[in-house]
């Protein structure tokens, strides 16, 4: 099954396959592969087929859109009626949301068929999917490697052909990094483009949902469905609707690509460097020019991120207190003891670590030194990007410093895992759109991701550049052995 959203859409429109048949095909593949990959944490065949029948009925009435009947997997972070929303956590093991996230509602309105819910790092905190309470996901390219995180289940599902597309969320790289590790395409839009309503919050000023699929063209089609103003999200941007496919055919002649010299320094492995440099050469062949740019403060993005994100997380996750939803400890004394025990037992280690550090940086006496300083550095990082975009249209470099590492390799050293997000976190801090596309293979035959960062609201241009690259290369068509 080597299908793209685009090709499935065409087959559905031509009547050569029905949504029910497609859903059954994918469910069969998931049943066969998931015991090993663990990409899905919940399947509900009845619901999936009900979605598919509804899509076929719409088509019979002549009311089908371009995505009607196309299957999708949703990250377990989005509230969705009829499904659990466990967010990778024991805390939400029994939680089933009583309402739909806006991204889910928009997917349903577009006629997408939910195949299941994908595994993820607990509360989206992690870069390897190993912090999930529901077990790690295996990388389809090498079963002893991590798929990346936090949207690791979504990335693995698409890479393994268990879903043609998936939703993801990205707070510091959680769409782009797993897309890179699994050899697929994913885009984190400009902050405020995709509603956060019903998306379980990690760090609200950074969180952004987006699509993951094989191709840039598929991501553009999906972003058309996901994006749009929403009253329910106070940071949702009121802008005219856009067609994100509008620049797919635009030639690259005249495109100025900025190459940030800081992203090619120490820490970047040779295999990633070679693949990224070859991709830049391809862009030049296609008519684009490259110019060196500098992001002098980008190196401080990881430390700034590990102040701001945990600070926001410590506040956001205070809602999990064993009272209104989620886990409650079986035994406790007074109210404070109930909170403390429920949270100690319901949260995993990584989540507790981030809540604790976030609590510390916000506490009396440390707020100015850590939190306020991090916010100032955040401004400087955003200023660096603004200066770079005065010289170029897009910024292109690596998504990650290395290809996927081994399962268990970094679990005892959280800091080394954090530093793997060195090229992605600055994009969230600035609020810019970023994407990752496959651009080659490195050590162990594992995929290398190319990161494309655009100025605010330049998603169509980024997707167009990525699409042109994918017309000239076949990295996005490679599939892991089954």
């Amino acid at each position: 099954m080597n299908e793209t959203v685009k090709s499935l859409s065409a087959r559905l429109a031509a009547g050569s396959v029905s949504a029910v048949e497609l859903a059954q095909d994918y469910l069969a593949r998931i049943r066969a592969a998931n015991p090993v990959l663990n990409a899905f944490v919940e399947l509900n065949e009845e619901r999936t087929l009900a979605d598919a029948r509804a899509a076929d009925a719409l088509r019979a009435e002549g009311r089908a859109g371009v995505l009607t009947g196309v299957p999708i997997a949703h990250k377990d972070i989005f509230c969705q009626t009829g499904w659990h929303a466990r967010c990778g956590s024991k805390m939400l093991e029994s939680f089933a949301a009583p309402y739909d996230a806006t991204l889910i509602a928009r997917s349903r309105d577009a006629g997408l068929v939910t195949l299941g819910r994908t595994n993820m790092d607990e509360f989206a905190m992690g870069s390897s999917n190993e912090s999930s309470h529901y077990g790690p996901v295996r990388n389809p390219w090498a079963h002893d490697a991590v798929p990346g995180g936090s949207s690791g289940g979504s990335a693995a599902a698409v890479a393994a052909g268990l879903a043609p597309a998936a939703s993801g969320t990205d707070t510091g790289g959680s769409i782009r990094q797993p897309a890179a590790f699994c050899g697929i395409t994913g885009i984190k839009p400009t902050y405020g483009i995709v509603s956060r309503w019903g998306m379980i919050a990690y760090a609200s000023s950074l969180d952004q949902g987006g699509p993951m699929a094989h191709t840039a063209e598929d991501c553009a089609l999906l972003l058309n469905a996901f994006a749009g103003f929403d009253e329910g999200d106070s940071t949702s941007l009121q802008r005219p609707a856009e067609d994100y496919t509008r620049s797919l055919a635009a030639p690259l002649a005249g495109l100025k690509i900025g190459v940030p010299k800081e992203f090619f320094g120490e820490g970047m492995s040779d295999d990633v460097r070679a693949a990224v440099n070859a991709a830049l050469a391809t862009f030049r062949t296609l008519g684009a020019s490259t110019v060196e740019v500098s992001l002098p403060r980008a190196g401080y993005a990881v430390p700034a991120y590990y102040v701001i994100a945990p600070a926001e997380a410590s506040s956001n996750l205070s809602r999990f207190d064993g009272v209104r939803y989620g886990y409650r400890a079986p035994e406790y004394g007074d109210l404070a003891d109930m909170y403390a025990k429920s949270r100690a037992q319901g949260f995993g280690e990584e989540v507790k670590r981030r809540i604790l550090i976030g609590t510390y940086v916000l506490s009396h006496g440390y707020y100015d030194a850590y939190y306020l300083q991090a916010q100032k550095v955040r401004r400087l990082i955003a200023d660096d990007y603004a200066a770079a975009f005065a010289q170029c249209d897009l910024i292109i470099g690596p998504t990650t410093p290395t290809v996927a590492y081994g399962l268990g390799e970094k679990t005892d050293d959280p800091l080394s895992m954090y530093l793997g997000d060195i090229y992605t976190t600055s994009v969230n801090l600035a609020g810019l759109p970023g994407m990752s596309i496959p651009c080659g293979f490195g050590a162990g035959g594992l995929p290398v991701g190319l990161q494309i960062v655009g100025n605010y609201f330049s998603e169509a241009r980024m997707l167009g550049a990525a699409h042109q690259f994918q017309q000239a290369t076949d990295w996005h068509l490679r599939r892991p052995k089954e």
Binding site: S205, R343, A344, T359, A369, Y370, L372, A374, K376, L415
Partner: protein, 95 residues
């Protein structure tokens, strides 16, 4: 920078997360190494820089002062650990 046991216990108390004695040393050492990472920020001169709280310069929207929500109490309470007569149950806090 290294945290003391007392500081770690204080943070855990503020965060309402019970910390067993057996976890104290591991937690202390991991939080200290995270602090080591974020200490790097101290080396940057940020004099006169306006803190950036958010990715976009948003102004909060106002809406008409009208009822827009309907009653979902039963649905929302269906996922609570303990409810009675439409109220969330917690341990007694007033003697």
């Amino acid at each position: 920078m290294s945290l003391t046991d007392q500081e770690v216990r204080h943070i855990a108390k503020l965060a309402r997360i019970e910390l067993a004695d057996a976890q104290l040393e591991r937690t202390r050492s991991q939080l200290s190494s995270m602090l080591g990472l974020i200490e790097q920020l101290q080396s940057i001169d940020t004099t006169g820089v306006e803190p950036m709280a958010h990715a976009t310069d948003l102004v909060l929207r106002l809406r008409d002062d009208a009822v827009t929500e309907t009653d979902h109490r039963a649905a929302y309470q269906s996922v609570a650990p303990a409810v009675e007569d439409g109220l969330y149950l917690v341990p007694k806090v007033i003697e």
